[in-house]
């Protein structure tokens, strides 16, 4: 049997590419490992965080984990922020898609819905200058953003930050409510807007993939503050919801336990080789068009194996970031409302030149539902006094996650090397380092952020660098190119050197703006799927 289209991966890109294909009436098979959470699903009660904390005697099972996996010890590393019900996202990574690096610690996922299960839900529109550097066509992206916005549902506000986060997006729902802590910060910003705008700072609410009005089976947000633990009412968008919907179509088939390892083009079709993760057997499936959407690193593995050329280094880009715990003095000793979300409440853009071209982003969170014991550990105090002090300070904590844009350089690359100890007999090696100039620019920018927050009576305690790769924003391995060069993509998303293979994830983005890329990845996947349909 030859499928019309095979889509590899069920993450944000794969789900949206498949949706576009199916909407056009195409017959689509999705190949995915599809790890699911069978342990915690159904365990989290339908109640708000505070009520759970006050009443549920079994809360430790999902807050700390049945094997206490939520009590991490040691330094901050990638995945440490995942709560036990989200940790399934990383299941099987070391075994099936190993990666070695002393400088780069990415997060990958073989889960049903991919990395989208842990997505922070920020839906940022890339500006014209940003898209020009990244690769996708500006005009087509504008339309694609609207299509994706209608599909997933976005809550947003037209405020100072809208020109950076929302662009010209028309289709969105009413914004989320801001919690007391960040509302006070926003009021302070409004009072000092003139000065901060002059310095290039613009604050507002981030557009989020969450519903403030019911949409189909999905309910509007109930502000339970359990967003890091459960998708119960489906108010927050996750890609598995799209795939669940696609499964109801007769022209869509979902094949789980399938790790795609390589492809080979034959006359008029593509052969896709698969390792079964359940039986450990091998299979070959055939299709007329192949769309790779298994994440930037996953797609790179498949492409490198398929071309089987000697040592090839692919470029790699990744937003580097740091987070800055701050004390918001206005909130000291103040109560915290019961109903709120755990998501980013505000976003602070920095565009010194007002060009929309090299913008940095800080997402601002209040701290509660990740529990206090994780914070207490970070303080150089004894635990007894630390608990008392942190409980008092808790309502005034604001965590600023500062992301920087990234572009390719010689010091950022990946390579697939032979390794007979692994199942696929190879292992991805990554090297990532910033130039001195990049480090200097980054630190200066962080300093400006800290200074701007101080203006708002929000004082930084320290800067924490979780390491390269931990932003979970990757791209640039197979950049878009108008020239027919190996390991690049044609403007329509087709992999150069192939006739029928398209790449629908972030591999083609030659530049990563600091804004979270997920919304743009989904929009790009929609465009690539349309191009595959029209080819």
């Amino acid at each position: 049997m030859i499928h019309d289209y095979i889509v590899v991966g069920s993450g944000p890109s794969g789900a949206q590419a498949a949706q576009t294909l199916v909407n056009d009436g195409a017959r689509v098979a999705m190949l995915d490992v599809g790890v699911k959470d069978d342990l915690y699903r159904g365990m989290v009660p339908d109640a708000d965080f505070t009520s759970i904390r006050e009443q549920d005697p079994d809360q430790y099972r999902y807050l700390l984990g049945t094997a206490f996996e939520g009590i991490s010890w040691g330094g901050v590393k990638v995945g440490a922020q995942l709560t036990p019900p989200r940790k399934f996202m990383m299941h099987g990574i070391d075994r099936w898609i190993p990666l070695e690096s002393s400088t780069f610690s990415p997060m990958e996922s073989l889960a049903y819905g991919g990395l989208g299960n842990g997505w922070g839900l920020g839906c940022f529109v890339f500006s014209g200058p940003e898209l020009e550097k990244a690769g996708p066509d500006h005009g087509k992206m504008k339309t694609a953003y609207e299509v994706i916005s209608r599909r997933i549902g976005i809550a947003a506000a037209r405020d100072d930050a809208a020109s950076y986060g929302l662009g010209g997006l028309d289709c969105f729902q009413e914004a989320l409510k801001i919690d007391t802590n960040c509302h006070a910060l926003y009021e302070a910003y409004r009072a000092k807007r003139g000065t901060l705008n002059q310095q290039g700072f613009f604050m507002g609410q981030p557009p989020m993939a969450i519903l403030t009005q019911d949409q189909g089976e999905r309910k509007q947000v109930a502000y339970k503050d359990m967003d890091f633990y459960s998708d119960q009412d489906m108010s927050a968008y996750r890609p598995w919801m799209t795939v669940d919907g696609l499964k109801k179509h007769s022209c869509f088939s979902y094949h789980e336990n399938c790790l795609v390892v390589r492809f080979e083009e034959k006359e008029g079709h593509v052969e896709v080789s698969v390792n079964r993760t359940d039986t450990h057997g091998k299979e070959v499936l055939r299709c007329k068009r192949l769309l790779l959407a298994s994440g930037v690193l996953g797609t790179a593995r498949i492409v490198l194996r398929s071309f089987q050329e000697g040592k090839v280094r692919l470029p790699l880009i990744c937003n580097h970031y740091c987070y800055v715990p701050c004390l918001h003095l206005r909130m000291l000793g103040k109560p915290v409302e019961r109903l709120r979300t755990s998501l980013a409440q505000l976003v602070l853009f920095h565009d010194e030149e007002r060009t929309h071209a090299d913008v940095a982003v800080a997402s601002l969170f209040s701290y509660r539902s990740l529990l206090l014991f994780r914070l207490i550990k970070e303080a150089p105090l004894n635990f007894s006094d630390g608990r008392k002090i942190m409980q008092y300070l808790q309502s005034s904590f604001i965590i600023a996650g500062i992301h920087h844009p990234d572009a390719a350089s010689a010091d950022k690359s990946i390579e697939l090397r032979e390794d007979l100890s692994t199942i696929t007999h190879d292992k991805l090696h990554a090297h990532y380092a910033l130039s001195e100039e990049e480090v200097k620019g980054t630190r200066q920018r962080e300093h400006k952020y800290i200074s701007a927050l101080r203006t708002l009576k929000c004082f930084a305690i320290k800067r924490v660098y979780p390491g390269f790769g931990s932003s979970i924003h990757y791209g640039g391995t197979l950049p878009y190119s108008r020239q027919d060069k190996p390991f690049t993509l044609a403007p329509n998303g087709r992999l150069h050197g192939t006739k029928y293979v398209y790449v629908a994830d972030g591999s083609g983005f030659g530049y990563l703006p600091a804004k979270g890329p997920t919304f743009s990845l989904m929009a790009n996947a929609h465009i690539v799927a349309q191009n595959a349909l029209s080819s």
């Binding site: 505070t50 904390r53 006050e54 009443q55 549920d56 005697p57 809360q59 430790y60 807050l63 700390l64 094997a67 206490f68 939520g70 009590i71 010890w73 040691g74 000291l332 000793g333 103040k334 109560p335 915290v336 509660r368 529990l371 206090l372 014991f373 207490i376 550990k377 303080a379 150089p380 105090l381 004894n382 635990f383 007894s384 006094d385 630390g386 608990r387 008392k388 002090i389 409980q391 008092y392 808790q394 309502s395």
Partner: protein, 137 residues
């Protein structure tokens, strides 16, 4: 095995009294035991020595914990306390010690004093550990 369980239960009691000033209920003690069995927080030679001091003289707990926080933050003794802190926090009976709430202005004074004590005990703890010949990690 029974001996080990009893010692973990005593340990849970000691740590909870240090953290919140009272003994935990049996459910929390059992959960702490489960957590320690699962997480295998074995003590190295230095930690064993310090743990002996803490169990013999519980009033030294704050001083030793303070010293470790500066000198050996990844110490297995700190890990034990961290586990108990997590277990207490995820128990409804003790959530009042962790959930944010409104505090009056007088409590702010209390917090300032607690902070000053924490720093002072930190200095004492650091000096005590140094005097015991314990090196940083």
């Amino acid at each position: 095995m029974r001996q080990a369980t009893r010692s973990l239960s005593d340990e849970a009691d000691l740590i909870a009294r240090y953290l919140i000033g009272k003994s935990p209920n049996d459910r929390v003690k059992r959960r702490y035991e489960d957590a320690m069995h699962t997480l295998h927080g074995d003590l190295d030679a230095v930690d064993r020595r310090l743990w002996k001091v803490v169990t013999c003289c519980p009033f030294t707990f704050r001083i030793i914990d303070s010293g470790l926080a500066v000198l050996r933050p990844a110490s297995s003794i700190r890990r034990k306390v961290h586990v108990m802190l997590a277990v207490l926090e995820a128990s409804p009976e003790y959530c009042e010690y962790f959930l944010p709430k409104a505090f009056g202005p007088l409590y702010a004074v209390n917090i300032v004093l607690t902070g000053a004590r924490a720093v002072f005990v930190g200095i004492i703890g650091y000096a005590a550990l140094k005097l015991m010949g314990i090196k940083g990690q």
